[in-house]
């Protein structure tokens, strides 16, 4: 009675599985503009209007978080709570990541979206740099006290110079932060979000900059004129030829050194933004010179100073790196060997951009990243799935004094491959691939064979064949026996119940052997199919209506208790088992007569 509902329930579950798999096969059923709008990084402008209304309630808190996070962060930086800063920066990053996932649902045009995302990323970068800069600033203050107490004027000068560099960097960061105001405030007002926290963060940022400026002025005045020298007659001066430079231009530094020593110095170390940039060499005209190519410097003011022998410092000079626009030109994509080949060039007004990363986007998703050559050109062959796609190239200019740029968009159609999926021409033409396929199939065949043949550790050996003394089947009959797979027939009569000591029946091995003998004998006499597949309960059920049923069922009950129930073979149980076994075997013998 219970079988039918179970079968019905199982059938229903299997049918549901098949329906779901069929839905997967007909993938358009699972693909709709609405679901498409939730896919990561997938831009479907047609889907936007449908999802705008009901998503705005979820988006508004995110916008508010993005406007409030910088305010709270700047305040924490101002309070010099660096553990708090690290925690809040991580939270800010998390919120920004949420923006990347949810921003598709905003009621914004694509350009507004890109602007807002860019401004937010820029703010995150600025505040991370501000956090690092102020942290270093505090360290310099501690070091300054220590060196002042020890009277180490060389290290004090070094700290003063690094402080100068940090000050200019923080001032640049402030200017960059102000540049983001327009986009951030406009977006906030569009969603009626409170923008006062963001505006307050700008004032707090200004205070941080003022603190740094004041601290640096005090430090410079305490250090005298800012240039410590190794001796009264020694002097090191530097000058920058062109103080405003762009990408790929040279910062040309020239200097002079006068020392009281007779030995003329050959090399003087030059530092840009407190990092050693190289060495200035003495030329024939007794002046030092150094050329530095601007490539990865951020746009803004940078500091330069020179140090000789760790003790003679030059004055600090500055130069300005300007941001140049870039042009990314991509040629129409071409098909080549099953891939889409895209090539183009990246350059500024004057020069190619070398070794710069260019991202190839297909329908807004990154399909490849390539670096430009020394001539600013790039070529990439990307594998794009069949169908209609829009591709373009993008230069993000993260670490360059350059504006980002993107190429013209191209619509391409990738045809379905001529051969079915998985049988691409060329795959099986490769001998290595054939070898891999053959090896894999061989290994899996061997694994399948051993799986079918394996026996669990501690399992019972194959069921023995027992024959009553008078009846011994012919070899043909034995071979026709429908035994389960994996149960080889052993020598008939080699294993019999006589080998079992009735006084020492063990529940694992001996009892199972008795059961196997009984099952096989019953199956043979009563013409049961597949004797090896009968469980004790099934054997009992099949024999219940027969004369031998009582004895067999008694035996199987005791067998189940001893083997499955774990009760073991007690004295009383043993008697009962042997009695019922003998009774059943005698009855089976009686059937023949």
């Amino acid at each position: 009675m219970r079988r039918l509902p179970a079968l019905l329930a199982s059938s229903a579950l299997i049918i549901t599985c098949l329906v779901l798999i069929a839905m997967q096969s007909g993938s358009p059923l699972l693909y709709s503009p609405r679901s498409d709008a939730f896919a990561d990084d997938h831009v479907n402008t047609a889907a936007l209007p449908r999802v705008t209304g009901d998503r705005s309630a979820q988006v508004l808190p995110l916008i508010e978080d993005l406007l409030n996070s910088p305010g709270s962060l700047v305040l924490t930086i101002k309070a010099n709570d660096y553990e708090g800063v690290a925690r809040e920066l991580e939270e800010y990053r998390q919120v920004s990541r949420n923006l990347d996932r949810l921003v598709i649902n905003l009621d914004m045009t694509e350009s507004e979206l890109a602007e807002f995302r860019k401004a937010n990323q820029e703010n995150l970068h600025i505040l991370t740099e501000l956090s690092n800069g102020t942290h270093r600033w505090e360290e310099l203050k501690t070091l300054e006290i220590r060196y002042r107490e020890s009277g180490d004027s060389q290290m004090l000068t070094s700290i003063t110079y690094e402080g100068e560099s940090l000050q200019r960097k923080i001032e640049d960061l402030y200017r960059d932060y102000l540049d983001q105001e327009d986009v951030m405030i406009r977006t906030g007002e569009k969603f009626n979000a409170d923008t006062s926290t963001y505006l307050q963060s700008e004032r707090d940022f200004r205070e941080v900059v003022s603190q740094v400026e004041t601290g640096q002025e005090e430090r410079v005045s305490a250090a005298g004129n800012g240039t410590a020298t190794g001796g009264m007659e020694s002097r090191l001066t530097i000058d920058i030829i062109d103080r405003e430079v762009s990408y790929s231009e040279f910062v040309q530094v020239q200097g002079e050194i006068f020392t009281s020593h007779e030995i003329r110095p050959e090399e003087v170390d030059l530092f840009i933004d407190s990092q050693k940039a190289g060495s200035m060499h003495m030329g024939n005209n007794l002046t030092l010179s150094f050329k530095h190519v601007v490539e990865h410097e951020r746009a803004g003011t940078h500091t330069v100073f020179a140090v000789y022998s760790g003790s003679l410092f030059s004055e600090i000079r500055t130069f300005l790196v300007k941001t140049d626009p870039t042009m990314l030109v991509m040629e129409p994509p071409a098909h080549e060997g099953g891939k889409v080949v895209m090539m183009g060039t990246l350059r500024t007004d004057k020069t190619p951009v070398k070794n710069a990363p260019v991202v190839i986007l297909s329908d807004g998703k990154i399909v490849s990243t390539v670096s430009t050559s020394q001539e600013g050109s790039f070529r990439v062959a990307a594998k794009i799935p069949p169908g209609d796609h829009t591709v373009k190239a993008l230069f993000e200019a993260d670490s360059y004094p350059l504006y980002p740029s993107e190429s013209e968009e191209f619509k391409i159609f990738i045809p379905e491959p001529a051969t079915p999926a998985g049988e691409e021409p060329g795959i099986l033409a490769n001998p290595v691939h054939i070898g891999i396929l053959a090896a894999s199939i061989c290994v899996s065949c061997v694994a399948a064979f051993f799986y079918l043949r394996h026996r669990r550790p501690g399992s019972i050996p194959p069921a023995p064949v027992f024959h009553l003394p008078e009846i011994r089947p012919s070899d043909e009959e034995i071979s026709e026996e429908n035994l389960p797979s994996g149960s080889p027939i052993e020598e008939p009569d080699r294993i019999s119940s006589d080998a079992i000591d009735p006084g020492r029946i063990e529940p694992g091995r001996d009892l199972t052997r008795l059961f196997s003998i009984l099952r096989l004998a019953a199956s043979r006499k009563l013409a049961f199919l597949h004797p090896g597949s009968l469980t004790p309960r099934e054997l009992c059920a099949k024999c219940r209506d027969l004369a031998i049923g009582n004895a067999i069922c008694r035996f199987t009950r005791g067998y189940e208790q001893a083997v499955y129930g774990g009760s073991g073979v007690t004295e009383e149980n043993r008697e009962m088992l042997l009695d019922s076994y003998n009774a059943a075997m005698e009855s089976l013998e009686g059937i023949d007569h």
């Binding site: 199982s10 579950l13 894999s440 199939i441 399948a448 799986y451 797979s485 196997s516 597949s533």
Partner: protein, 86 residues
């Protein structure tokens, strides 16, 4: 409930669970589905097996699993070839 019905129900529940999670993750993949189904049926058959008796349906299921293992080998080979051809 009989062991056979328990095994069928458990396998169906496992398959439904796998498909459900795949749909939630929006990554319906027949190869992954096949591998997870194979793992499920392997575990269920091992749990349902007996020391003394191997019911007919379990013998058939074991043959199905052996075929699945061979198919799994083909899938692995295809994946390796895809990676090598990239």
């Amino acid at each position: 409930m009989m062991k056979k019905h328990l095994a069928i129900s458990a396998l169906a529940a496992w398959v439904i669970l796998v498909i459900g999670f795949m749909m939630l993750a929006r990554t319906l993949d027949l190869e992954i589905f096949f591998v997870l189904w194979l793992i499920g049926i392997l575990i269920i058959v091992e749990l349902a097996s007996d020391h003394t008796a191997t019911p007919r349906y379990l013998s058939i299921l074991k043959m199905v699993i052996a075929s699945g293992v061979i198919l799994f080998g083909v899938i692995v080979a295809r994946k390796i070839m895809e990676i090598l051809s990239q």
